[in-house]
Point group: C2
Chain length 241, copies 2
DNA sequence: CGCCCGATTATGCATAGACATAATGTCGCG
DNA sequence: CGCGACATTATGTCTATGCATAATCGGGCG
């Protein structure tokens, strides 16, 4: 195979090496929160490089939230953030396929109608596309999806054949968005939901509600109800971001 | 002194203005995914600044994932990422207080024991502190917490009076961590859990399991079971980071 | 003794130039 | 006509330097 990486230091660009070393000291705890890291001119001397080089590194670390900078005082290791995690919510289709199971999709209902009183207030006055569909894994019902798409924001959606394409996948690839909000909760299956998901009435389900904006207009609102016995969300986090 | 900033536009640093303008074009859709943004030398000419200045901006945007750079070819607006959200999981105590309700805490059980077969495999051979406690909001049971703390990693925990301090708060402030994993699921209350949370057996609950590492050693593993009718998680996301 | 004012100093921002690297396109040769 | 060598070009990295800004420290004055 290719070159064995040089014993001492890699042929990494210098700024990556500097960044890695500083990150290492912080993450290992050698430089605890509140610790004043060496001044730029000290790092400059230590690495034998120009101040701009270490400056860019520290600025990047500050941008990532690992370091806080105070003029004249120095740069300090930031306090660990409040608990926050990066929650990956992949396409159901991809996720099922990724687990090696066969994905099934079924469009249950499709209506084009003006938004009514039961809909989220952001849609009032607009025309929406209402979709209900079912996701299956290995043939078993996995999740019921109820979705509203704003036709004012996404007129193209009216033409799409959602009997063949899950709306989540389509939207993900066709509509840019700038913000989203998720609401995750547990609920008991209603009679209707229980029938569709093929579980007992009252069975625990995981509900994922998502609302997606583009700039200030709501693009879509979706509620996915997963069978609690077949699904869970996983979120991973490491503080370096 | 009040130097007359020439235009009306900026007392912003130039690089922030450049960044804001580019981000704006991307987020507004004016520069769609795949669009080749102007070359550095064009931006240099447009803003009348040095190349390093626009270079730093574009490098930062690339670091944030908004832009992909290809040598010789140019810089391109990145495809929208897979769905991912920043999930804030605050201290239960803080969150209850933040909603204006009164927080209550109760230690149900505390045992110091060697890890057994029912515990996560990472603890085997270690001594652990096992805690069970109940969080209340306005007097009503909100969440049952079952926690294991590795005494090998956190020997100080043996001395703490967890009858007064919720273990989550204490750990958050005393033990740095480098990585965490969450598992979010819905489950039906068992007889025991139902009795503690004062709900019917089988009621839908939201389960949040978290395992926290420091470097490679597991610090703590916790499972919080929330009453589904009283609690949900909220996650917000905007792609610019 | 306390408070304000200036000198010091670390970071913040920007410049102009240099060389390295990698991908693209083109030209010329077989 | 196909293909490899080479020139072109945009980004990647780094340097050396300058001035701006803000916080801190120390000293002098009321």
């Amino acid at each position: 195979m290719a070159d064995a990486t040089e014993g001492e230091t890699a042929q990494l660009p210098l700024h990556q090496r500097i960044r890695a070393e500083i990150e290492g000291k912080i993450l290992s705890g050698e430089w605890p929160p509140g610790y004043r890291i060496p001044f730029e001119h000290e790092l400059t001397a230590h690495y034998g490089c120009a101040r701009m080089t270490v400056n860019k590194v520290i600025a990047a670390l500050a941008g990532a939230g690992l370091i806080e900078r105070r003029r004249r005082a120095g740069s300090f290791v930031a306090q660990p953030r409040l608990q926050s995690a990066v929650l990956e919510i992949p396409d159901i289709q991809q996720e099922v396929a990724g687990r090696g199971e066969t994905y099934g999709y079924e469009l249950i209902g499709r209506r084009r109608r003006p938004a009514g009183e039961d809909d989220p207030a952001v849609f009032t006055g607009q025309e929406v596309l209402e979709l209900r569909c079912l996701h299956r894994a290995n043939g078993r019902p996995l999740a019921l999806e109820e979705r509203l798409i704003s036709l004012a924001s996404v007129p193209e959606a009216a033409e799409v054949d959602f009997a063949a394409t899950p709306p989540g996948s389509w939207l993900l690839h066709h509509v840019p968005w700038t913000e989203a909000e998720h609401r995750i909760s547990a609920l008991a299956a209603s009679t209707k939901v229980a029938a569709i998901l093929e579980v007992a009435k009252g069975a625990a389900c995981l509900s994922l509600e998502r609302r997606t904006w583009r700039a200030t207009e709501t693009v879509t609102a979706v509620r996915q109800i997963f069978r609690g016995d077949l699904y869970h969300l996983v979120a991973r986090f490491s503080p370096q971001g």
